[in-house]
Every structure is written in C-alpha cells, then in structure tokens.
C-alpha cells in the first residue's frame, strides 16, 4: 500500500513538472517571437534582386515527395527550364517520368502543350506574370514551376504570417556558398538557400506541408542562372507544330 502511494505521488510530481515546464516554455516562446531579422533581410535581398531582373532563365530540378497507397515513400522528379521576361512573358519546359509539358505565356494568351501527346490548349490570359499565375492556379488549376519566386512582390507574399525565421547556417549548393534560411508559417515551412556573395540568387528551395502528418516536401534545386538571357519575344508565343491538335481546359 505504501509503495502504491509513493508511486502515485511520484507520478503526480512528474506530471506537475511536465505541466510547469510546458507552461514556462510557452511563456518564453510567446515573449520572443523567433523571427530573426538576419534571415528576413537575406530573404528580402534575394526577392528584391530576383524581382528587379528584367529577364532571367534558370534550370530547376524539382523533387516531389509522395506516399504510395502502400505507405512507401517515393520521389518524383521534374526538370524544368524556365525563362522569364518581365512584365508579361514566361516560358517553361518540364520533363519528368510523368510529365512532358511546355508552358507558354506571351502577355495575351497562355498555352499548355504536351509534345508526346501532340495536344495543346490555349486560353486568353491576364496582362502580367503575377496576374497570370493567379489566374492559372485559380481558374485553370495549373501549377507553374517555381511560381513562388517568380512573383515580383514575392517578399510580402512569402513573409506573410511567418512566425519563425532563422539563419540555419552556411551551406554549398552546386558549389555556391549559400546562407541557409528556415521560415515557418501556419501550415507550411519553407527553406531557402541564397548565395552569400555576388548576386543574391536562390539556389535551393524546399516547401514542407506541415498541415499533414506526413510532412511531405517539394524540393527545387536551381542551377544555370542567367540574369540577362538573349531571348526573342517570339520564344514565348506558341506556334503549333505540324500535327499538333488543339484542345481545351476543363473548367476548374
């Protein structure tokens, strides 16, 4: 009987300690919002720089983590070459094990073309890249590669609701020394690696969905940055190849 009482007391004490420490921890967290200005400054410098580029091209390697019905983790890779000419031109060619698709936007229309199926669809589109990205996502259900970093006003959009920001450290991505940043917002964490000298370009970007228990991520590694590509406007206008058949978008 004595042993039992002692056990009960010990358990109660342990519980008390737990509750107390949890309360203290919450208090500490509430007092110091963990948004390190050093991290937000680097992010701001990067988004300002990318936003200021009139034209740029970049190769992105996108890895989408997924779960099979069996519960096994699997990665799907898509390589995308993206060319941007502000304010209203974008071309992206995506190739992966499950996609072979080109995207054209010339300021008037956007076109999706599947070369392997020889099928394309063209839709009138708004007049700027930013509006077009919103339109593509909301009206057509389209996903455009690295859209997050293409927005000219990316900084306020990214930093909105951020409640944690830290400089994790220095790392090397594709041989480039980068500042590794980690940000957290409700429902999503994101990491950005930004070159720490020269042009403040992003070299890696990871978005983790924290709203699902599996916390799956999409990782984008960027290479072949060209901040002054020689591209003619014609590059952004789709000309149907011989034999290609037009089709339409299903309403989203």
């Amino acid at each position: 009987m004595n042993t039992l009482n002692f056990r009960k007391a010990a358990a109660l004490f342990a519980l008390g300690v737990l509750v107390l420490s949890a309360t203290i921890a919450t208090g500490v967290r509430a007092q110091s919002p963990a948004v390190d200005p050093a991290a937000t400054q680097i992010l701001h410098r990067m988004t300002d720089y990318v936003g200021s580029l009139q034209k740029f091209s970049v190769r992105t390697q996108n890895t989408l983590e997924d779960l099979l019905v069996s519960g096994h983790r699997v990665d799907f890779d898509v390589s995308a070459d993206v060319i941007i000419s502000r304010p209203n031109k974008l071309h992206a060619a995506r190739k992966g094990e499950l996609i072979d698709q080109a995207f054209y936007y010339d300021g008037k229309t956007l076109t999706l073309y599947n070369p392997s199926d020889k099928v394309y669809a063209t839709e009138p589109a708004p007049g700027t890249i930013e509006e077009m990205l919103d339109f593509a996502r909301e009206t057509l259900g389209l996903i455009v590669p690295v859209a997050d970093l293409v927005y000219r006003n990316a900084y306020p959009l990214l930093i909105q609701d951020v409640n944690m920001a830290v400089v994790v450290g220095k790392s090397f991505i594709g041989g480039i020394r980068c500042d590794h940043l980690l940000f957290s917002r409700p429902g999503v964490d994101f990491q950005v690696w930004v070159a720490d000298s020269g042009k403040p370009l992003p070299y890696k970007y990871v978005v983790t969905d924290t709203g699902i228990p599996t916390r799956l991520s999409i990782t984008t590694v960027m290479s072949n940055w060209n901040v002054a590509p020689a591209v003619a406007d014609a590059r952004f206008t789709f000309v149907p190849p011989k034999g290609a058949k037009p089709t339409t978008f299903m309403p989203f």
Partner: protein, 157 residues
C-alpha cells in the same frame, strides 16, 4: 474482464483507423501496369492528387499590409482562416477526385462529359474539324486538360 475490454478498445481503434483507408479501396482505378505499380503516379503532377497538398508558399498575391502589433493579434485569425482554406482545398480535391476508369465492357454508351484518366483499349483516332476524337466501342472521347493533366472526356463529334 479487463482483457476483454482492452481487446474491444483496440479493435475499435483499429476499425477507426481503417475507415480512413476505405475510400481508397473503393476508388481503385484499373490503370495500365505502371500505374498499378505506382498507384499515386498519375496523381502527383496536378489536380488529380488524392491528397492535395501544398507545393507552394504563395497561394494568392493579395497582401494586406499590417503592422507587427496587428500581426500578433491577427495571427489566430489567419490560422483559423488558413484552416478554413485547407478544408476548402480538401473539398476541392475531393470534388476533383481521380476520374473513374472506363468500364471494361463497351455495352451502353457513357453519358456525355464522363471523364476518364486513360483511354480504354482498342480506340481509333478520328479527326473532325481539326479536333481529334478517339472512338472506343460505342463512345467517342476527346483529350482535354484538367489542370496540368491530360484526361479524356466522352463527347459527340
């Protein structure tokens, strides 16, 4: 008695866990071999994902500038709003669940506008006023984009 109770609780818990998987059991496609090996394969690159999830931080370019004091206050609200948005997204995902496979037998023609992810076997292509149709048994299909994915919809040439 205690043991029986434990077993009962465990069994109930297990049943609840299984319920989450039930819809998956019922919406099994009859896809080509590759998709059988990788059941999620067709679903990852666009809207036909079974579990729609976030692949971007920015989900709208409208920003409401707030000073930091307001942000503190608004955080709970935005969290709630984001939960609502997430719920809406899930609903949207459910609404666009992967289209069912075409029926194995080509008996009665399917209603117009039926969406399938893959064409049934043995279709012949036919072009009518520069639009390509696929005749499969008693049905004509037309390729259309559903988000980034190419799907097939029954249509009348």
């Amino acid at each position: 008695m205690k043991t029986i109770f434990k077993i009962a609780v465990l069994a109930t818990a297990l049943l609840f866990m299984l319920i989450a998987d039930l819809p998956l059991l019922f919406e099994q496609d009859v896809p080509p071999l590759f998709e059988q090996l990788v059941p999620e394969a067709h679903a990852i690159l666009g809207v036909r994902r079974r579990t729609r999830r976030r692949t971007a931080v920015i989900v709208g370019s409208e920003v409401h500038a707030e000073d930091s004091a307001q942000i503190q206050q608004a955080q709970q609200q935005t969290a709630a709003a984001q939960q609502q948005a997430a719920a809406a997204q899930q609903q949207a995902a459910a609404a666009q669940a992967p289209p069912p496979p075409p029926p194995a037998t080509a008996g009665k023609p399917l209603p117009l506008g039926t969406v399938v992810s893959t064409l049934p076997a043995g279709c012949t292509a036919k072009t009518v006023s520069n639009v390509e149709y696929y005749q499969c048994g008693g049905n004509y299909y037309r390729a259309v984009f559903q988000g980034n994915n190419l799907v097939y919809v029954t249509a009348k040439p």
